[in-house]
C-alpha cells in the first residue's frame, strides 16, 4: 500500500509532536513553579500554626469568640452577596433589556466605583456622617464597593443569552418577569454566581472598611492577633478558619456553575428584538443607577473635593507627585510580574482540563481569599532572608502579583481559549513561536493586556501588604492616605485619595468603554473566573 504521507511530512509531524511534548513539559513545570509560589502564604501559615500546641489550637478554634466572629463574617458576606445580587442583577437586566436613552453611557457610573478602594469609601462616609459605624454600615460600604463585580458579571452573562428563547417565551404569553425567571435566569446563574463570588471574597479579605466601622470579621481578628498580641501562631490558626470559610464559598459557587447549561451550544443573539420599551421600567432603571451613582460616585467625590478645597495645610505637591509615581510604577511592575507568572497556567487552563491545571488553580483560588497582611508577613518571613532583595519595589510588586494572581490567570486563560483549536493544531506542526507571534498573540493580546490592567488597578489600592513590604521611605498614595487618616487628618488625606481615584478611574474607564461594551474584557476576565478562578 503506497504511503500517502511523504517522508518529509512525517519528519515534520514527529518533530511537531516532540516539540509539543517538550512544550507541554515546560508548561507543566512552569505551572508547578507558579503553584509553589502561590503556596508560599499557605506554607507560611502552616509553619506558624504548627508552632502552637495542639491543645491551645483547639481552644482557640472553639472559643466562643471565634464562633462569634465567624458568624459575623458569614452574616456580612451573606448580606453583601444578597444585596449585590439583587441590586446588581436588577440593574444589569435593566441595562440589557430596557430601551434606555444613552444606554451604554449608563454603564459607566455602574462601573466607576470599581476604582474606589473600600477604605476611601469608608473615610468619605464617616466624614459626611460621623455616626456612621457598625455592621449595617459595613454591609452598605462593602455592597457599594463590590456591586460593579455583580453588574459586570451579569451583563456579560446576559450577552450570551439565547434571545430566540426569549421571543418564544414572549409569544407564549409569558410576562417579562416570568420570562426572566424561566428563560434568562437559568442561563446567567453561573455568571451571577461568579460576580457574587468576587463580592464574597472581597468582603472576607477586606480590612479597611470593617476595621474603620468597628466590625470584627475574621480578617480583623487575624490582623489584631499579629498587631496587638504579636501572636503569629494564633493569627495563623484563625487564618485557617478563614481559608475554610473561603473554600465553602468557592465550593458553593462551583456547585451553582455546574447547574448552568453548556455555554458552547449554538445560540441566537439579537438584543434589538428583545428590548423593552416601557416608561415605568425606564425610569426605575435610570433611578436605580442614579441612586447608586449618587452613593458610590457623587458622595465620595463631593467629600474628597470639599475636603481638598478646605484643606488648611498646604499640599506638598512634590510628595503627592512622588507618591503617585511610586504607586503607578510599583503597581505596573506587579501587574507585569502577574502577567509573566500567570502565562503558563493561563495557557494550560485554556486547553483541555488537566490535573495540574486544576490543582494549581484551586491553590490560587484559596490563597486569594487571604487578607493582605497574611501575604505580607509570609513575604516578610521569607524575603528578610533574601538580603538585598528585601524591601525593594521588586519584592513588593511580587507580593502584588501573588495577591492578584487569580485575576491575571483568569483573563489569560479566557483570552487564550478564544484562539481556535485549529490554530493550535497548526502550531504543533509549524514553528511554535512564529504561530504564537503571528496568530495567537494578536487574538489574545487585548484581553491579556486589559486583564493586566485589572491587576494594576487592584494593586494600586492595596494597603496592608504595601505597609509591610515597601522599601523603607517609599510611600504610595495608599500609605499616605493611611498615614494621614491614622491620626485623623482626613483633610490632608483628601488630595492623595482624590489622585488615587482619578488615576484608577482611567483604566476603569478603558475597560468599560461604552463603544466596546459588548466585548469588554473585564467581563471576559469574569468569565474566566467563572470557569474556576477567583478574584478580589
Amino acid at each position: 500500500m503506497p504511503t500517502t504521507i511523504s517522508d518529509s511530512t512525517k519528519v515534520a509531524l514527529t518533530k511537531g509532536a516532540r516539540n509539543q511534548r517538550t512544550l507541554r513539559g515546560v508548561l507543566n513545570g512552569a505551572v508547578g513553579i507558579v503553584a509553589a509560589l502561590a503556596l508560599i502564604p499557605i506554607g507560611y501559615l502552616l509553619v506558624r500554626a504548627s508552632q502552637k500546641p495542639l491543645g491551645e489550637t483547639a481552644q482557640l478554634l472553639f472559643r466562643p469568640k471565634t464562633l462569634e466572629v465567624l458568624a459575623t463574617t458569614s452574616a456580612l458576606v451573606a448580606g453583601v452577596v444578597i444585596t449585590t445580587v439583587v441590586m446588581g442583577v436588577a440593574m444589569a437586566t435593566g441595562l440589557h433589556f430596557v430601551r434606555l436613552p444613552f444606554r451604554r453611557l449608563l454603564i459607566i457610573p455602574a462601573v466607576l466605583p470599581l476604582a474606589i478602594p473600600s477604605y476611601v469609601f469608608t473615610y468619605t462616609w464617616i466624614a459626611l456622617i460621623p455616626q456612621f459605624s457598625g455592621f449595617f454600615a459595613a454591609g452598605f460600604i462593602l455592597s457599594i464597593t463590590t456591586l460593579p463585580y455583580v453588574i459586570l458579571a451579569t451583563l456579560s452573562g446576559l450577552r450570551t443569552v439565547d434571545t430566540s428563547q426569549i421571543e418564544v417565551a414572549r409569544s407564549l404569553g409569558l410576562t417579562p418577569i416570568q420570562t426572566f425567571r424561566r428563560v434568562v435566569f437559568p442561563q446567567v446563574k453561573g455568571h451571577i454566581s461568579a460576580g457574587a463570588l468576587l463580592a464574597a471574597l472581597y468582603t472576607i479579605s477586606d480590612f479597611g472598611a470593617v476595621s474603620l466601622l468597628n466590625v470584627e470579621t475574621l480578617t480583623v481578628t487575624i490582623q489584631n492577633m499579629y498587631k496587638a498580641s504579636y501572636d503569629r501562631s494564633a493569627a495563623a490558626v484563625i487564618s485557617f478558619v478563614l481559608i475554610a470559610f473561603s473554600t465553602v464559598v468557592v465550593l458553593a459557587d462551583e456547585r451553582i456553575k455546574k447547574q448552568t447549561p453548556d455555554g458552547n451550544a449554538i445560540k441566537a443573539y439579537s438584543a434589538k428584538n428583545t428590548l423593552i420599551n416601557n416608561g415605568w421600567l425606564k425610569s426605575s432603571v435610570i433611578g436605580a443607577i442614579a441612586l447608586y451613582a449618587f452613593n458610590a460616585v457623587v458622595i465620595p467625590f463631593y467629600v474628597l473635593i470639599s475636603r481638598f478645597l478646605s484643606n488648611q495645610v498646604a499640599i506638598d505637591w512634590a510628595d503627592l507627585l512622588t507618591a503617585a509615581i511610586s504607586t503607578v510604577s510599583v503597581a505596573a511592575l506587579g501587574a507585569l510580574i502577574a502577567l509573566v507568572i500567570s502565562a503558563p497556567l493561563g495557557i494550560v487552563l485554556s486547553g483541555p482540563s488537566t490535573r495540574i491545571g486544576t490543582i494549581a488553580q484551586r491553590i490560587i483560588t484559596v490563597g486569594h481569599g487571604l487578607p493582605g497582611v497574611v501575604i505580607g508577613l509570609a513575604v516578610v518571613s521569607i524575603g528578610s532572608k533574601l538580603g538585598a532583595l528585601y524591601q525593594t519595589t521588586f519584592l513588593l510588586a511580587f507580593a502584588y502579583a501573588l495577591l492578584f494572581l487569580a485575576k491575571s490567570v483568569a483573563s489569560m486563560s479566557t483570552s487564550l481559549s478564544r484562539v481556535p483549536n485549529s490554530v493550535k493544531d497548526v502550531a504543533s506542526t509549524l514553528g511554535q513561536w512564529m504561530v504564537i507571534k503571528r496568530v495567537v498573540a494578536p487574538i489574545a493580546a487585548p484581553g491579556i493586556g486589559l486583564g493586566t490592567v485589572l491587576v494594576f488597578l487592584t494593586a494600586m489600592k492595596e494597603l496592608p501588604a504595601t505597609l509591610m513590604l515597601r522599601p523603607t521611605g517609599f510611600e504610595t498614595l495608599a500609605t499616605q492616605i493611611w498615614s494621614s487618616a491614622s491620626i485623623n487628618r482626613f483633610n490632608e488625606a483628601a488630595p492623595y485619595a482624590l489622585i488615587l481615584v482619578l488615576i484608577a478611574a482611567l483604566p476603569t474607564f478603558l475597560i468599560s468603554r461604552p463603544d466596546k461594551a459588548d466585548r469588554s474584557y473585564i467581563q471576559e476576565t469574569i468569565n474566566g473566573i467563572q470557569r474556576g478562578g477567583a478574584d478580589k
Partner: protein, 340 residues
C-alpha cells in the same frame, strides 16, 4: 490598538526605572563610615518627622524611615529576626519595645546614652530608653458625666453602664492592663474586664476613635492617653466636647507609659543610633516634644504640656515599665475574655 500598546510600554518603562531608583536608594550602605541609618518608627510621620529632619541636618546622616503602627512594626521585626534592616526602633509604647526586647533582638545601651532620663523610664537591662511620657487618663464629656470616677474599678458601676469606651487592640490599653495585672493580680484584672463587659463597655479600634465617640455622644467616658483630645481636635479643626480626667492619686488608671527607642542587636551602626537617641532625649528636643506633640518630657525640670498637671503631680502609680513587657499574659487574658 497602537495607542494602547505605546502607553503600556511607557508604563513598563516608568515602572522599571522607578524600581532601579528605589533599589539604589534603599540598599547602598556597606561603607565603614555611616551615611545612612534605618529607623522603624511607630510614631507617626506628622509628629516626628521634624525631629528627624533636625537630626539629619546636624549629624549629616541620612535617615531611611519606615513609618507604621508600633505593634505591627514590632511584629515585622520579630518576623525579620536577625535579618532586620532596621538600626533603631522608635515605638509609641513600652509594650512593643518589650516584645522586641523579649525576643532578644535589642542590644544593651551604654550608660552614657540618655543618661538624663530617670531610671523608672528605662528598661532595667537598658535594652531601650523612654523618650516621651504619656499619661493614661479618662477622657469624658463634662456635661454628661455627673460623678467623676476615682478609680478604674468605678467604671464597672451601673452609673457608667453602656457609657465607657476602651480600645483593647491598642498597645497603650494593653500596657495599662499589664500594669493592672502586675499590681493587682490576674484574677482582679480578669474580673474587672468581665465586669466592664457586663457593664456594656464599647469597643473601639483606637484611642482617637474613643475621643471622637465621646464628642459625638456615642459614649461619655473612655480610657485613653492624655494627648488625644488635642490630636482629635486638631484633626477636626474645631473644639471638642471632651476633657481629660485623672483618677485618685496612686490609681493604676493614672499609669505613665512612655514612647521609647532601642537599637537592634543586628545593627552595625551602633554609634550613630546612640547619637540619635541622645538627640531625642536632649533638653531642647524634650521641650520641643512638650510644645509640639503635647507629650510629657521625661527629663526632670521640663514644663508639662498646657492644661495637664506636671508628671510628678499626676499621682501616677509606681509601676516598673520593664514589667510591661509581660504582654503575653495580658493578651492571653484579653483573648480569654474575648476582647481580642
Amino acid at each position: 490598538m497602537p495607542i494602547k500598546k505605546k502607553s503600556l510600554v511607557k508604563v513598563v518603562v516608568v515602572a522599571l526605572f522607578a524600581t532601579l531608583l528605589a533599589g539604589c536608594s534603599s540598599n547602598s550602605d556597606q561603607a565603614s563610615d555611616v551615611t545612612e541609618l534605618t529607623v522603624y518608627s511607630g510614631r507617626s510621620e506628622e509628629f516626628i518627622a521634624p525631629f528627624f529632619t533636625q537630626w539629619e541636618a546636624q549629624s549629616g546622616i541620612k535617615l531611611n524611615i519606615r513609618y507604621g503602627d508600633s505593634a505591627e512594626l514590632a511584629a515585622q521585626i520579630l518576623e525579620e529576626g536577625s535579618n532586620s534592616p532596621a538600626d533603631l526602633f522608635l515605638s509609641q509604647d513600652a509594650g512593643s519595645l518589650g516584645a522586641v526586647a523579649e525576643a532578644g533582638l535589642f542590644t544593651q545601651l551604654s550608660d552614657e546614652v540618655a543618661s538624663a532620663i530617670p531610671a523608672q523610664y528605662v528598661a532595667a537591662n537598658r535594652n531601650w530608653v523612654g523618650v516621651t511620657g504619656r499619661a493614661r487618663v479618662f477622657a469624658y464629656a463634662p456635661d454628661r458625666v455627673k460623678t467623676l470616677p476615682l478609680s478604674v474599678a468605678d467604671l464597672t458601676k451601673s452609673e457608667y453602664k453602656n457609657q465607657v469606651g476602651i480600645a483593647p487592640t491598642n498597645a497603650s490599653f494593653q500596657a495599662f492592663v499589664t500594669a493592672l495585672i502586675e499590681n493587682k493580680g490576674a484574677d482582679f484584672a480578669k474580673s474587672w474586664l468581665k465586669a466592664l463587659q457586663a457593664n456594656g463597655v464599647k469597643i473601639y479600634p483606637k484611642n482617637s476613635a474613643i475621643v471622637e465617640a465621646i464628642d459625638k455622644g456615642e459614649i461619655s467616658i473612655g480610657l485613653v492617653n492624655h494627648y488625644y483630645i488635642w490630636e482629635v481636635s486638631e484633626g477636626l479643626g474645631r473644639d471638642i466636647n471632651v476633657k481629660n480626667g485623672f483618677f485618685a492619686a496612686g490609681d493604676i488608671g493614672n499609669l505613665i507609659n512612655v514612647s521609647g527607642a532601642g537599637v537592634l542587636a543586628s545593627s552595625k551602626k551602633y554609634a550613630a543610633s546612640e547619637d540619635l537617641i541622645n538627640f531625642l532625649t536632649s533638653a531642647t528636643t524634650q521641650a520641643k516634644f512638650v510644645s509640639d506633640t503635647h507629650e510629657y518630657a521625661l527629663i526632670p525640670g521640663t514644663a508639662a504640656p498646657a492644661g495637664v498637671p506636671a508628671l510628678d503631680q499626676i499621682g501616677a502609680p509606681s509601676v516598673d515599665l520593664s514589667s510591661l513587657k509581660n504582654i503575653k499574659t495580658t493578651q492571653d487574658l484579653l483573648v480569654e475574655v474575648g476582647l481580642l
